[in-house]
C-alpha cells in the first residue's frame, strides 16, 4: 500500500450517470486514500478549482456521455494554465480504444474501462504517485503501455 493521496473524483459535462464514479471513490477510500467527490455536471473550470482548493494530487474524470475527447484534454490544459503541473489525471468510463492515445497525449495517465478491478486502480495510484507524471510532465509514460 502506497502513501495516502488526496484524490478528486469528478464528473465533467452533461452526464447523469455516477454509479461508476461512486464505486471508484469508495474503492479508493477503502484503499486508504482521501477522496473528494465533486458531484454531477461539473465544468472543467470547477474541477480545476476544486483540485486547487483541495490540494489534490490526483484528478479522476468519469465520463459516459461520449464527450471525453473534449472534456478530458480541457481539464488537463486548464490544470497546466493554473500552474497545477504536478496534478496527475486519470479517466474512466466508456472510452473507445482508438480514442485513448489522443487522451494520453493530452496528459491523461490512465484510462480505465468497464471491468477494471479496484486493485488495478489502486496500483496505478501507487505507481503514478512515485513518478513525476503530472499534467505538466514531459514523461510519455502511461498506465498499461
Amino acid at each position: 500500500m502506497g502513501e495516502r493521496q488526496r484524490i478528486i473524483i469528478a464528473k465533467p459535462g452533461l452526464d447523469g450517470h455516477d454509479r461508476g464514479a461512486k464505486v471508484v471513490a469508495r474503492a479508493l477510500r477503502d484503499g486508504g486514500h482521501e477522496v473528494i467527490y465533486t458531484g454531477l455536471r461539473r465544468t472543467p473550470n470547477q474541477i480545476v478549482r476544486t483540485a486547487m482548493d483541495e490540494d489534490a494530487r490526483f484528478v479522476g474524470l468519469s465520463s459516459l456521455s461520449g464527450a471525453h475527447g473534449h472534456l478530458f484534454p480541457t481539464v488537463c490544459n486548464l490544470l497546466r494554465e493554473a500552474g497545477l503541473n504536478d496534478v496527475i489525471v486519470f479517466g474512466g468510463g466508456i472510452i473507445p480504444d482508438d480514442e485513448r492515445s489522443a487522451l494520453h497525449a493530452s496528459g491523461v495517465r490512465a484510462i480505465f474501462g468497464p471491468g477494471t478491478t479496484s486493485s488495478e486502480i489502486l496500483e496505478f495510484i501507487s505507481e503514478a504517485a512515485g513518478r513525476n507524471c503530472g499534467v505538466g510532465s514531459q514523461d510519455p509514460w502511461h498506465w498499461g503501455e
Binding site: 495516502r4 471513490a25 469508495r26 479508493l28 477510500r29 477503502d30 484503499g31 486508504g32 486514500h33 482521501e34 477522496v35 473528494i36 467527490y37 465533486t38 458531484g39 470547477q46 478549482r49 476544486t50 482548493d53 483541495e54 490540494d55
Partner: protein, 255 residues
C-alpha cells in the same frame, strides 16, 4: 497552540449527522458571498478500517455553481485522520492563515460526535449547534457535551413536522441555566429564517459557560498535544507494554 488572531471571525457549525449542516452552510454562503470572503473547512471522519475518507460536503454547496459568488468562497475538505489531537491543531493553523489572508469569516463544519470533531469545533470563536426533527427521541445525554458548547442553537428543517417539538425539548432542557443560548428555527430547504442568520452570526456573543466549555476542550487538546509531542512518547509506550511501567510513572517521565 495559540488562540487565533485576526480581524475576522471563526465559527463552527456542528451537530448530529443528517440534520442538514452542509445545506445550512450552503444557504449561509448564498447570503454571505460575494460581499464577504468566506472559507469553509469541512471536516469528515476518516474510516478507522482503511485510513481513507470520502469527503462529500462540496456536493451540497450549490453556491459554488454561481460564478459571481464562487470566487469569494474557499472550500477545503479535511479528514480527521487517526489522531484526535493533530487535526484540530492543523485546522487552527489553517484558520489563522485564512484570516491573515483576507478571509473575513471561517466556517468549520463538523459532525458533533466524537472527540476529534468536538475539538475541531472548540477552535472556533463561536459555536453554532444544529438540530433537526424526526431524529427519534428527545434530548439524549450524548448531546449534553455539545449543547454546553453552543452559543446559538439552530433547529433546521422547520418545514417538517416535529420542528416545534424539538425547539420545546431544547428550551426545556436548557431552561435550568440562566445562561442558555438562543434557539432559532430555520429551513435550509425553503430558505425560511436564513436571511437573518448572517447578521445574527456577526453579532453573536459568546456565552460565559460555552466559553468555559470551549476552553476546557482547548486545554485538554493542548495537554494531549504536549504528551504526544514528547520525543520519548513512543519509547515510554514501549516501556509500559514491555517493562510494566506504571501509568503514573509514565506520566511523571513525560511531564
Amino acid at each position: 497552540m495559540e488562540p487565533i488572531r485576526g480581524e475576522g471571525l471563526v465559527i463552527a457549525i456542528t451537530g448530529p449527522p443528517g440534520v442538514g449542516k452542509s445545506c445550512l452552510v450552503d444557504g449561509l454562503l448564498h447570503r454571505l458571498a460575494p460581499e464577504h470572503i468566506v472559507a469553509v473547512l469541512a471536516v469528515d471522519p476518516t474510516s478507522p478500517l482503511s485510513g481513507g475518507a470520502l469527503l462529500g460536503d462540496r456536493i451540497r454547496f450549490s453556491v459554488l455553481d454561481d460564478d459571481s459568488k464562487a470566487d469569494s468562497i474557499y472550500v477545503r475538505s479535511i479528514a480527521t485522520r487517526s489522531s484526535s489531537g493533530a487535526v484540530p491543531s492543523i485546522i487552527q493553523s489553517l484558520a489563522s492563515h485564512l484570516l491573515g489572508n483576507g478571509f473575513g469569516l471561517v466556517i468549520i463544519e463538523t459532525v458533533g460526535a466524537g472527540q476529534a470533531e468536538i475539538r475541531c469545533a472548540a477552535i472556533a470563536d463561536r459555536i453554532i449547534v444544529v438540530e433537526g426533527p424526526a431524529r427519534g427521541d428527545g434530548i439524549q445525554a450524548e448531546k449534553a457535551g455539545l449543547l454546553e458548547l453552543a452559543d446559538l442553537l439552530i433547529v433546521n428543517k422547520s418545514d417538517l413536522p416535529g420542528a416545534d417539538k424539538v425547539v420545546n425539548d431544547l428550551t426545556m432542557s436548557l431552561s435550568i441555566t440562566d445562561d442558555s443560548p438562543e434557539i432559532i428555527k430555520v429551513s435550509a430547504l425553503t430558505g425560511d429564517g436564513l436571511d437573518q442568520l448572517p447578521a445574527m452570526i456577526f453579532a453573536l456573543e459568546s456565552r460565559v459557560s460555552s466559553q468555559r466549555a470551549r476552553n476546557r476542550q482547548r486545554l485538554l487538546m493542548a495537554h494531549e498535544h504536549l504528551l504526544t509531542a514528547n520525543p520519548n512518547f513512543e519509547a515510554i509506550l514501549d516501556r509500559i507494554s514491555q517493562e510494566g511501567l506504571s501509568l503514573a510513572q509514565a506520566l511523571e517521565e513525560l511531564s
